[in-house]
């Protein structure tokens, strides 16, 4: 269990973090929100101004009792965004450099071979990092981290330096690898898709503070605030208000019963909007087709704000009937 409660001041914002997690965790947020700094403080690469960080009962940092373990004593692995391989060493030397803790030569060789097989990096062992592809560099850095046998692993946007076409393949390999290693990890990402695929618990950060935390699916389904909904990738957000116990959604021409006292906006996932005969007529303003599906931008008759709708791959309708299920609408009560 990782517990991290700390503050760190910067010129433009103060990072104020309160994390308590184990298993697969993701931190998501816009650039400069403090995600990477949070990881660096946990790893000991950066020092918070005040607070307390512990992992599985071992105190890593505590400002009150002046405890600040150096990174080398924390047993926390860190995969950098740019992988940070040692440029003057071959992949083999990079991996061996992290095996210094194992004094027995035979055991060193055994661990090396096991991990090299596990991450499938055997074909580039004698190459220098400058000659590796993005995927190979990522696997080399992973191998180097794994042989060091960290108890907690931190990943700083591990897929952002990769070509888009490589990402889904490497994500699948990554998930398999993590299942096999079965270690706690925290991943920082910009992408809600990545967060959904790679974590069970999610923290949404903005301007140095945690906006929303919870199970990944729960946070995505019910982000509570407009900002969190935007960061979570909700594409359909429109203004709303509560009047006489009813939720008024003028942009979508809807009035719903509401149990809340106030609301600023509502959101609905494109997957939740149905193409259904029971719905209201609307016309398709734009169609974006991808191999995995089609996104339709639809203006429902009588409404003023268009809405994104997910449709099956190859769908080419220009008009139809669209239903916004009341139960799928998420009420956002904070900015």
């Amino acid at each position: 269990m990782l517990k991290a409660i700390f503050k760190k001041k910067f010129s433009s914002y103060t990072l104020s973090v309160d994390l308590s997690c184990s298993g697969r965790t993701a931190l998501i947020g816009p650039s400069g929100c403090g995600k990477s700094v949070t990881l660096k403080c946990i790893a000991g690469i950066m020092r918070p101004d005040e607070g307390h960080i512990e992992y599985n009962g071992q105190v890593l940092y505590d400002s009150a009792s002046h405890i600040d373990l150096p990174p080398r004593k924390r047993k926390i692995g860190y995969l950098f965004q740019n992988y940070a391989l040692f440029p003057d060493m071959s992949v083999r030397e990079n991996i061996m450099s992290a095996l210094h803790w194992q004094k027995d030569k035979a055991d060193r060789g055994r661990i090396f071979n096991e991990v090299v097989d596990m991450v499938q990096i055997g074909h580039v062992l004698d190459s220098k990092p400058g000659r590796l592809s993005g995927g190979e560099a990522q696997r080399a850095a992973l191998a180097r981290m794994i042989v060091n046998q960290p108890s907690l692993m931190l990943f700083d946007e591990p897929f952002s330096a990769l070509d888009v076409y490589l990402r889904s393949t490497l994500q699948a390999q990554f998930i398999q690898l993590m299942e096999r290693l079965d270690k706690d990890h925290v991943i920082v990402t910009h992408s809600m898709d990545e967060a959904c695929a790679l974590s069970d618990r999610l923290y949404i950060l903005d301007q140095g503070r945690v906006l929303r935390e919870g199970g990944t699916r729960d946070v995505f389904q019910d982000p509570l605030s407009i900002k969190a909904a935007e960061i979570a990738g909700q594409r359909n957000i429109t203004a709303a208000r509560v009047e006489d116990g009813m939720l008024q959604v003028p942009g979508w021409d809807m009035v719903l019963p509401c149990t809340r006292n106030s609301a600023l906006a509502v959101a609905i996932a494109p997957d939740d909007v149905l193409i259904d005969e029971c719905g209201r007529p609307g016309r398709v303003l734009r169609r974006i087709g991808t191999p995995s599906g089609t996104s339709l931008l639809v203006l429902i008759n009588g409404t003023s704000q268009a809405i994104w709708v997910s449709a099956p791959s190859g769908c080419d309708i220009t008009q139809g009937r669209f239903l916004i299920p009341r139960s799928a609408i998420k009420v956002l009560t904070c900015p």
Partner: protein
């Protein structure tokens, strides 16, 4: 032909380059971690000899190391003299060449990707291993450039050297002070020969460094 100035210049340049190499790298490495204002002040102080006339640097050295000054007198009591000795030439050349090594090494450290060093820290490596195996090799181009500039500057140093150790044939004469002395006394051919010797050494050093860099680039 008396080759003492060649030998004296070479030993002064080599020794001062070694001193400046370690001091410059050390100062640049430490300066990186200092708060911005402190670093700014330190930068000015450490870089001053680069912009001051060498004779002014020599003047300050005499102020500290002159035999009638407290430090100079103290050192002389313990048998260490820098005024009118070739060892003083090492001090003068070091003072003038230091900023070149410091500034170049600092630039190399600033351009270095520190994530690589941080990665090594998370892998359990000690700071000394990281410094010698990761940081220095990663900054080697800048460090080699700084060392070459410092050596060339030390080899050609005249102003501070002549202030501190003067010109005594067979004792303190260097190539540059010999060139001036020969030219002043009308021996144009003698001065020309020493100029050519200085040129040849500098060109050979630069050529060797270029070849070394090409070899490293091709690895």
């Amino acid at each position: 032909m008396d080759l003492f100035p060649l030998w004296n210049s070479l030993r002064i340049a080599v020794l001062s380059s070694i001193i400046v190499f370690f001091l410059g790298i050390g100062a640049a490495y430490l300066a990186r971690r200092l708060p911005r204002t402190v670093k700014g002040v330190l930068d000015v102080i450490l870089t001053l000899p680069l912009v001051l006339p060498p004779t002014v640097t020599g003047y300050f050295l005499l102020m500290f190391l002159g035999l009638k000054r407290p430090l100079g007198a103290f050192l002389a009591e313990h048998g260490i003299r820098f005024v009118m000795t070739w060892q003083g030439g090492v001090i003068a050349a070091s003072a003038v060449a230091f900023p070149l090594m410091y500034r170049t090494a600092r630039g190399a450290f600033e351009a270095f990707n520190w994530d690589i060093a941080d990665a090594a820290r998370t892998l359990g490596r000690r700071n000394s291993w990281i410094f010698w195996r990761i940081t220095i090799p990663g900054c080697r181009s800048g460090i080699i450039a700084g060392a070459v500039l410092a050596f060339a500057r030390a080899l050609g140093e005249y102003g501070a050297t002549s202030m501190l150790i003067g010109y005594t044939p067979g004792r303190t004469a260097t190539i540059s002070t010999t060139v001036y002395q020969l030219w002043r006394t009308g021996d144009d051919m003698g001065a020309f020969i020493w100029v050519m010797i200085n040129l040849a050494i500098s060109a050979a050093v630069l050529l060797a460094v270029n070849m070394l860099e090409r070899k490293q680039g091709g690895r």
